[in-house]
């Protein structure tokens, strides 16, 4: 047996989503990213003597929103606790978090696996806590600089069950959560800026074993790609270690994206004893059913609901619907495109149009966006413009093939579809006389092929199509060309 078939991988993710509040979780400081160091750290964030925390209502609202969207239990009574440890980016010497009684418990999310089946991933809990500041090491000799602007930014820590069985599943789940928090507008999801971060608990065990193996926690993975690479590296490391007679030690490991490896974090090595206890400065958070109902009423259509609707309403496949609903913006773009298309004569045509739009949004448009590292919201081509192009395909002004050129022209700033089509003279030739003339020239120039074709070598039909297309610079309407060519080749 190879290593891969002998060992089962077990992964649980702890996701930290910065909540999109204006002010901090326990203070009135702003949460804007990128401000000058310590200009957004007030007395509460700095842990000044005598100051006290007061909880931000919207942080609670957002946590409840997440709980409802994952089918979780929203605790009618949750408690803030102090997690005590010393670190320069932790001003009070403790982090206000939730320990025994989190605000959200027992939710789940479905992810789609490669084979098209879905798998339910359990969410153990999601709790509110405050973010820490940052230690900066550049520019200071033998010293670090502490910026506490981030300290006190609200975080929702979302803890999954150890239900994930591969890096791929972990990424699918991570993307699902990422999409969800953005749908819910509770987190901007910006991984570069650290708004959405992930720690992975990774262990391996022989297939069939009941007990989990010893796990390592990988920290500091700040992109989907790195999460996948970090997990794969860690899995391989653990398997190698065990197979060579070693033992996995429970520890915190840091992912180094430059070296593509994980390494033990010495600073966190010391046996941590966080001495959690209920924070006496904060009272229990009591959530009334009326509040929950109020939040429920603000829930948007969620990704899974939207995907189901895309399948039934537009006749899309589960895969297409999944891709198009991955983000609220993409789904919105798609629906705006479809709604700007001309009204279809019947249901079949409507579905064909919807499929055409799906193909273009997922295909050429996404490729162009990826190439320039843009997201859908900043696309230079807005939905009505893309719909304009698709309209010309539907009304047969241009072929699908030529439409790609038109798209490029539009992308490059050449104006709307009609402008590009006219500027480039790309309108299809549907005039029978012009097509006949072109075919006649091709036939005249290829007497040998013509003779062979007429002698029964049908395969040469393609040759004539190609030649005739070439003669019309690809502008001949393919259907018309085929029909006329077949007639003319057959002879008088």
């Amino acid at each position: 047996m190879t290593s891969e078939t002998k060992w089962e991988v077990v992964i649980g993710l702890e996701i930290h989503a910065q909540l999109a509040t204006h002010s901090k979780i326990f203070s009135g400081s702003a949460t804007v990213f990128g401000a000058d160091p310590n200009t957004q750290a007030d007395l509460v964030d700095l842990g000044y003597p005598g100051v006290l925390p007061v909880l931000n209502a919207d942080a609670v609202r957002m946590a409840v929103k997440f709980g409802l969207a994952t089918g979780a239990t929203v605790a009618s009574r949750s408690v803030f606790a102090r997690k005590n440890y010393f670190y320069p980016d932790l001003p009070k010497g403790y982090q206000i978090s939730q320990y025994e009684r989190p605000i959200v418990e027992r939710g789940s999310l479905d992810i789609m696996l490669d084979d098209g089946t879905t798998k339910t991933i359990g969410i153990t809990r999601a709790h509110l806590e405050e973010d820490a500041g940052k230690s900066l090491h550049e520019g200071l000799v033998g010293a670090s600089g502490i910026d506490l602007n981030r300290a006190g930014t609200p975080l929702l820590e979302i803890v999954s069950e150890p239900d994930l069985r591969s890096a791929k599943e972990a990424i699918a789940y991570l993307k699902k959560v990422h999409s969800l928090v953005r749908y819910l507008e509770i987190c901007d999801g910006n991984m570069q800026e650290g708004s959405f971060r992930c720690d992975a608990n990774v262990s391996v065990r022989p297939f069939g074993a009941e007990k989990f193996g010893t796990r390592c926690e990988i920290k500091n993975v700040n992109s989907f790609r790195f999460v996948e690479k970090a997990i794969n590296y860690e899995v391989a490391r653990q398997i190698d270690l065990i197979e060579s007679g070693g033992k996995v030690v429970q520890e915190t490991r840091l992912y180094d994206s430059v070296k593509d490896e994980t390494r033990s974090m010495r600073s966190k090595e010391e046996a941590n004893d966080y001495r959690y206890f209920p924070d006496p400065d904060l009272l229990p958070v009591v959530i009334e059913p009326a509040f929950v109902a109020e939040v429920r009423a603000t829930l948007p259509e969620l990704p899974d609901e939207k995907a189901a609707r895309f399948q039934s309403r537009y006749g899309l496949s589960a895969y297409d619907a999944g891709v198009l609903t991955a983000s609220r913006e993409l789904a919105g773009y798609y629906e705006a495109t479809v709604s700007a298309l001309p009204k279809a004569p019947d249901e079949a045509a409507a579905r064909a149009n919807a499929k055409l739009a799906a193909n273009w949004v997922m295909g050429d448009l996404s490729a162009a966006l990826n190439k320039e590292n843009m997201d859908i919201a900043s696309s230079p081509l807005k939905a009505p413009e893309l719909a304009g192009l698709l309209t010309r395909i539907i009304d047969a002004t241009i072929s699908g093939k030529l439409a790609k050129d038109v798209f490029e022209g539009m992308w490059a700033g050449g104006g709307n579809a009609d402008a590009v089509i006219d500027a480039r003279g790309l309108r299809q030739i549907t005039d029978v006389g012009a097509i006949e003339k072109a075919i006649a020239e091709v036939m005249a120039a290829s007497p040998g092929q013509l003779a062979e074709y007429r002698a029964g070598k049908d395969k040469l039909f393609g040759y004539f199509v190609g030649q005739a297309m070439k003669a019309t610079q690809g502008k001949a309407n393919p259907a018309a060309l085929n029909e006329i060519l077949r007639k003319m080749l057959a002879g008088p």
């Binding site: 204006h22 310590n38 750290a41 209502a57 919207d58 942080a59 200071l140 010293a143 904060l282």
Partner: protein, 96 residues
């Protein structure tokens, strides 16, 4: 409950207090005395008792509207800081 010098060392380390060798013995003595004194709590039957974290049972946490009310007062707040450079609080190098 009697604490050894070694126990005190561990506690002091968690609490980030440097304790001299001489003081270790003294703290081991006084902390043991205190723990022996509070030990009497263990004889109380609390099987069905809820712990009390707040004197005002029944009060719920008040929520603050999400409004930015504090501006930049870095200059004032950093006047108390022992070491500051370019707006950052300076500490000996943090090793991760």
């Amino acid at each position: 409950m009697s604490l050894t010098r070694h126990d005190v060392e561990g506690i002091a380390r968690l609490a980030r207090l440097q304790v001299s060798d001489a003081d270790l013995t003294a703290y081991a003595g006084s902390l043991s005395k205190i723990l022996a004194f509070v030990e009497q709590l263990s004889s109380v039957d609390t099987a069905a008792v809820e712990p009390m974290a707040h004197p005002l049972a029944g009060e719920a946490q008040r929520l603050r509207p999400d409004v930015v009310s504090e501006g930049d007062r870095r200059e004032l707040y950093q006047r108390n800081a022992p070491a500051v450079e370019s707006g950052l609080y300076v500490v000996p190098k943090v090793i991760e």
